[in-house]
Symmetry: C2
Subunit: 210 residues, 2 copies
DNA sequence: TCTTGTTGTACGAGCGTTCGTTCGGCCAAG
DNA sequence: CTTGGCCGAACGAACGCTCGTACAACAAGA
């Protein structure tokens, strides 16, 4: 009698919950977001969230897993557009930059809450992350035509980490309207990497003597 | 009679508390570290911590303020060793890399908990951060001999952000024993930047057509 | 030298609040 | 009538923080 308590339009689902969780997590951190706040954002009861996820940890873990899978899949799809190594790298970078712009909240969670999981969840997420990292690593290695010696291997690894440093830092500052469109930023990072990536490693550069 | 409850060797001070807090904060995040845990780590009572800091927020804020002041001061001191722009940039980078190695915990806090403050504390920390950012920004601008036009300005800003992306990402992966000593990594980043930084901006590089 | 008052730091106990999670019942769709 | 999704209510635990107190160190007056 007292009107319908059920909201027929709600359509509560795992996807909807994950999307809302990403927003709150990005804004307040994994420990700052309470399950009550999340339920409030969703306009449903606290226990309804627990009908779809058995715990907060699982929710956080699934969010990260999906993000890395989406990222990996979209990267592979994007790279089909080019055959050469440098072209594929450019498309990889562009895809990542676009992902940061389109899913800033998720990206923030990926950067901040990586280690806030149990050992089992962390392992699952890490596997996805390494798969994604591996794509870029292989491209950089090809681009540097790195030898099998340890020095070259480590140099390539460092270069790949630097690439991800630039890419992952974007969430903290990049605003397309202020800093230029996606293609511009992607071009920046691509150019930085390409200018450096020749036969590696050149002698360690010591600038003009102190 | 019941023996001395006071620990004469404890010497609880703000410095000691901040150091311990950095370790816990890096491991568990600002919301994961409880004041009780911190007191436990210090081997003192919870209320004793509150004798030195009025609140958790103030503690977190002071930790970040001190970190940026230390970072800025050590950068200025390090850069006195060179006169040219590129030499100063190299020393700036080296100083930052060394700081990450020596104060990994603090660095982790700086990256993760930047936005977890009240509006007033955030403003104070931001001011310090911008002072530090400004040093690198000026160096990059000089190095690029950037013109006053908006396109150049934005390009320099992007380049500076990319520099900090590489530098700040270090905390997550860099292990000197595995990836080479500080001078090697600093040389990497320096070379990446220098190879790119000429008269800016060169035409946007579109790699071989898709 | 002894006493006395003040100050700074440490302490245990406990305040009110919020956390993640659970549970039993209700209601509409099948 | 069954069932799956949703709800309000409540659990114990942990949270940030405060309170009144206790003890050492020091300075001044006697």
């Amino acid at each position: 009698m007292i009107a319908a308590r059920r909201k027929p339009s709600a359509e509560l689902s795992r996807e909807v919950i994950l999307d809302a969780a990403a927003v709150r997590l990005a804004r307040e951190g994994s420990c700052g977001m309470s399950m009550r706040d999340l339920a409030g954002t969703l306009g449903c009861a606290l226990s309804s969230v627990y009908n779809h996820f058995p715990s907060k940890d699982v929710l956080l873990q699934e969010l990260q897993e999906r993000a890395f899978e989406t990222l990996t899949a979209s990267a592979r799809r994007a790279m089909e557009g080019a055959s050469g190594t440098s072209g594929r790298l450019y498309l990889f970078i562009t895809n990542h930059v676009r992902y940061v712009v389109d899913h800033r909240d998720v990206m923030s969670v990926l950067v901040h809450e990586a280690g806030r999981l149990g050992p089992e969840g962390r392992a699952r997420v890490r596997a996805r992350k390494e798969a994604y990292f591996g794509i870029a690593h292989a491209l950089v290695a090809e681009l540097c035509s790195a030898g099998p010696d340890r020095a070259s291997q480590v140099a390539v690894e460092r270069l790949t980490y630097h690439l991800f440093g630039m890419l992952n830092w974007l969430w903290g500052w990049y605003v397309p309207d202020r800093h230029g469109e996606v293609a511009l930023v992607a071009g920046d990072i691509y150019a930085l990497l390409l200018a450096r990536a020749g036969p590696l490693p050149p002698a360690h550069p010591t600038p003009e003597a102190p």
